[in-house]
Symmetry: none
């Protein structure tokens, strides 16, 4: 399998002023054609560092992609380093000069001396045109390997790579047919999942598939990979079907699905409407649901009732119930969800009440205790969740748990 290395150049990356999104985008692009990015190396705009990084990269990988250090300002030295590295000289490329001149004319901006310099490229390189900027991409063949240098501005880099570099890479290398599927799970921890599916994982690996656990708060993504290509698709589908059969409450989607997307799809499909009555989540469930364009078709609105007073006045919770059971209780979230259904005029309603923290916990109801209710067409179900101490994370976990609990109840998966 051919391998690649990404060399990202720029002090702004090292001091954390800019997040290296270029490297992850390139990693995805290479993965799609079955070329493995084995190293990402970030260094400063320093000639010795750049030279040394190129040496190392040529030693261990087939394709080097460099981004950054090609701007018109003084601290961008990549082009000069490359010219020296490949024992070449800078020449003016007439096509690039015309492109740069056109670029400024089109924008009615004066062209400066420094901009003209961008039309100089090492004589040995093949120019990869940059339609979104002035610094051209450069392709170098070197002892059977390849080095590609591109501007660091993401939308310039992406266009150069997609339009000019990628087709040449596909011509040169036997790009294989790596096949990947990602299964999204909610409500089950990484280790718990690994334990419960241990036999499945063993068989999957014995069949030559790879499995990766990609956890994030409240979610674990399972990535199944085959390097054999499309012939393995039925095998992968079988393993996914088994997963769905064994943990249906947890598997909520695939690939780039999000829970709000999945919920939106279900409500649109079934021509149902949804409302929410939130407390400790503070509007975060509403914000998640409405992150989907077109949410207004099934989601007319919501109530945020932080105080007991608003729980009673807006959502119709009885103050006696609060007195008897406490505001974080199955009884109160039931009344919130059922009251919300009426008040918002919806078919289904989620209600949440809990202690997001970091303060407000008690002995019997510690920080991280969250009650969730789902009022549906026929019944209302409730469930208590226990998360941790971190406010932001508790809110995030509550949002995902509430949406997945709604999904399960809607699909008849809740007892």
């Amino acid at each position: 399998m051919n391998t690649a290395e990404i060399i990202s150049i720029g002090d702004e990356l090292l001091i954390g002023q800019t997040i290296n999104t270029n490297a992850s985008w390139l990693g995805q692009e290479f993965a799609k054609i079955g070329i493995k990015v084995k190293h990402v190396t970030t260094i400063s705009d320093d000639a010795a560092e750049i030279k040394s990084a190129i040496d190392t990269a040529f030693d261990r990988n087939d394709i080097i992609v460099m981004t950054g250090g090609l701007g018109p300002t003084k601290d961008d030295i990549t082009k000069h380093v490359l010219t020296a590295y490949f024992n070449s000289e800078l020449i003016v490329d007439e096509a690039v000069l015309k492109a740069v001149t056109d670029f400024f004319e089109k924008r009615n901006r004066p062209m400066l001396e420094v901009n003209t310099l961008q039309a100089s490229v090492p004589a040995v390189c093949t120019v990869l045109p940059n339609k979104n900027g002035t610094a051209p991409g450069m392709w170098f063949d070197h002892k059977g390997k390849v080095l590609i240098s591109m501007a660091g501005v993401p939308y310039e880099m992406k266009a150069i790579f997609t339009d000019y570099a990628l087709p040449k890479i596909k011509e040169l290398y036997a790009v294989n047919s790596l096949v990947q599927r990602t299964v999204l799970t909610q409500g089950i921890g990484e280790s718990f999942l690994a334990n419960q599916m241990a036999d499945w994982e063993d068989r999957l690996r014995a069949d030559g598939l790879e499995l990766a656990y990609l956890p994030s708060p409240g979610m674990v993504k399972l990535r199944l990979t085959s390097f054999k290509g499309e012939t393995d698709i039925p095998l992968i589908e079988d393993y996914i079907a088994e997963l769905l059969h064994r943990i249906p409450k947890n598997v909520f989607g695939f690939e780039n699905d999000t829970l709000p997307d999945v919920i939106g799809h279900l409500f649109k499909q079934n021509k149902l409407s949804l409302g929410t009555v939130e407390s400790c989540t503070g509007g975060a469930i509403a914000a998640a649901i409405t992150s989907v364009s077109g949410a207004s078709e099934y989601y007319p609105g919501s109530l945020l009732t932080y105080t007991e007073e608003l729980k009673c006045n807006l959502a119709g919770v009885s103050s006696e119930t609060i007195k008897e059971f406490g505001v974080v209780s199955s009884e109160v979230v039931t009344q919130m969800a059922e009251g919300g259904k009426k008040q918002l005029g919806v078919d289904w309603c989620i209600a949440v009440s809990g202690i997001a923290g970091p303060t407000g916990g008690t002995e019997t109801c510690p920080v991280g205790t969250i009650w969730i209710a789902i009022a549906g067409t026929d019944r209302t179900v409730t469930k208590c969740f226990q998360f941790g101490d971190n406010r932001e994370r508790n809110i995030q976990m509550s949002v995902l748990s509430a949406l997945n609990y709604l999904r399960c109840e809607l699909l008849g998966l809740v007892e």
Copy 2:
């Protein structure tokens, strides 16, 4: 100057499924104490790769920070590689075992065999406790240099680094006397700001200070840096005072302030209460306000009225007003804000109505048009904002604009 290298471990980073935000966060933290991150190296969960990366890093830098590869599943091998690298052996650390046990008990989750393994650490390391997870951080002293290994989950890593690694680093290394202040602005673009403050920036640079513009959607952070140390603090304060004087509507805070923090502080200080009536922002303003712990003291709740029906029924908007002026209008947001004040029983109320997009725009009211109203004790003010085509960004910009508009009106800065 001491230098550092970050080694990020994980296939998910190489194939671009996860963006390496840990490296940029660590880069920022090191920059703050004057230690330069010279290299960021990303590699896969592979023993030979990890060993080789450590060798290279020890050759060229003083401090190595490794993140990732410490989870309980089979593909996480970092701990074993480190144990071998430092010729040590794994021993059970009783304090870690207790912490892991407590972690599961507190969450009412059963502890598995694989979780117990997380309490094993190389005998030669100093444990850096992980209060947010089960994999402890590890500190290794090696020939006058240091290697720190931490979990890759950002909020676990950040807590370990801040609470345990950073204090030890500060003890060991002559961290220099770099002084930085960050000023937070809202509602003014980077180039506009640079243009308006050009004379200020020139003087500031002539005085030997550095200035960086750090833009993010709806906000620009200005970072002022002196490498001379504390003697420059009065100078920096003078420049900040001038900024505050010249663009008071835009400067909303400093350092790690957020607009919800600033708003919360103002409302608590003035013993006032706040409500919100949202439409196109879909609960995102409420979620922002309640991201602050203790928001319930001044924020009893909110209404999300996506549909016209709920705008009328819940917030008391007149359907005639909607017919006459349209639902995205100064008149409607005024009624939403004033109706919200009554319905929620609050002193101040924000209301927002607009077209978040990507669909729903018209010729007279294109996508990105957002009306915001602030109803206060004495009057209601409204303002129309025009953002772009991107739904997520429009929502984000609306949240920041609404909160800053509220801040300005509360402080008497709106004409």
